[in-house]
Symmetry: C2
DNA sequence: TCAATTTCGTTTCACTTGCAACGAATATCG
DNA sequence: CGATATTCGTTGCAAGTGAAACGAAATTGA
């Protein structure tokens, strides 16, 4: 193929990049419009909700955010009163992060809306197509795992093996 | 679903976001390592290669980059000697952008490598799966088109209708 | 026990991005 | 024509991001 025939529109990384950007843009309405949350903040919030206490490191290991990004998100969320930081008693280097009542409430408000959007986007998909989509994306992740240059993938938060459908 | 059961790992926007980030990271090796190109620069370069002359606006309309991003990318690419800017004779507001010989050569060098990566990532996919993947992503785009808040999608550079497989 | 190393979270810095504003050039319409 | 509005590309600015450096705390190993 001569390079002047190369078409960005058929190039998978470009497709995914644009699709992801559009989806994030749409969902930032849910995260941001009402509570002013950024995507990193939303990820942190969601992840912390899984357990009583959680360290920055735990979050970093799970939600594909850089350590500084997590640190900043946590700081901001504390300022907004959605969570509380305290140094761990066992290990004074660690920070225990815990959602406040407000944090839980905000999350309970946002999460259903986010799921509605996801559902709407997939509304034209049959059950099989839905399964296929996740399976195909999973396969791409698997391929990327072979390249050390593609940043390594984080383990599932719930510890379950990957690739199973919901 | 209670929000503390919500799992980011099964949330489509998150999945896509991470996948796209990983893929971009991997490909930045191709774009950047040898010639120091950023993704915006790569997109501009690829798009300009399609025609003799091209304005900033044309590029902006096609490659999902903000106008300032295109402008900066073009400026930098001119500094590197990969393209030439000149004010259009017909309309002095427009900038004619043209690849230099070097620009074409760089592109001829990079493009095949990018395609190899794409191919490798899809190497485990059957023809049908490949088709399915593109079709499903296309459908997601179609759904997003219904929401004005998701940034509108740009037309295909080659003017062909969407959704046809390569 | 104590020095060297490692880990954790934060901070700093250079860089990129998105949005609004701007000047220059053209188009529109009385 | 001539005033107003629009379009094009650039620039300024505030916010976000990634990588490296840093101090504090813990672990290791002589």
């Amino acid at each position: 193929m001569k390079s002047n025939e190369f078409n960005l529109d058929d190039f998978l990384p470009y497709q995914l990049s644009v699709l992801s950007a559009r989806m994030n843009r749409l969902l930032s309405k849910v995260y941001g419009e009402q509570y002013g949350l950024s995507i990193p903040e939303w990820r942190v919030l969601v992840h912390v909700a899984r357990r009583e206490k959680m360290s920055v490191r735990d979050i970093h290991k799970c939600v594909n955010l850089e350590k500084p990004a997590v640190s900043r998100a946590v700081t901001k969320l504390e300022a907004t009163g959605l969570l509380i930081k305290s140094t761990s008693e066992d290990d004074h280097r660690l920070v225990d992060i815990e959602l406040t009542k407000d944090g839980i409430e905000v999350l309970n408000n946002i999460t259903p809306k986010a799921l509605v959007y996801e559902k709407e986007l997939l509304s034209s998909f049959s059950t099989e197509e839905n399964t296929q989509l996740y399976a195909l994306l999973e396969r791409l992740h698997d391929e990327l795992d072979k390249y050390p240059d593609a940043m390594p993938r984080k383990p599932r938060a719930d510890g379950r093996p990957r690739g199973l459908v919901k």
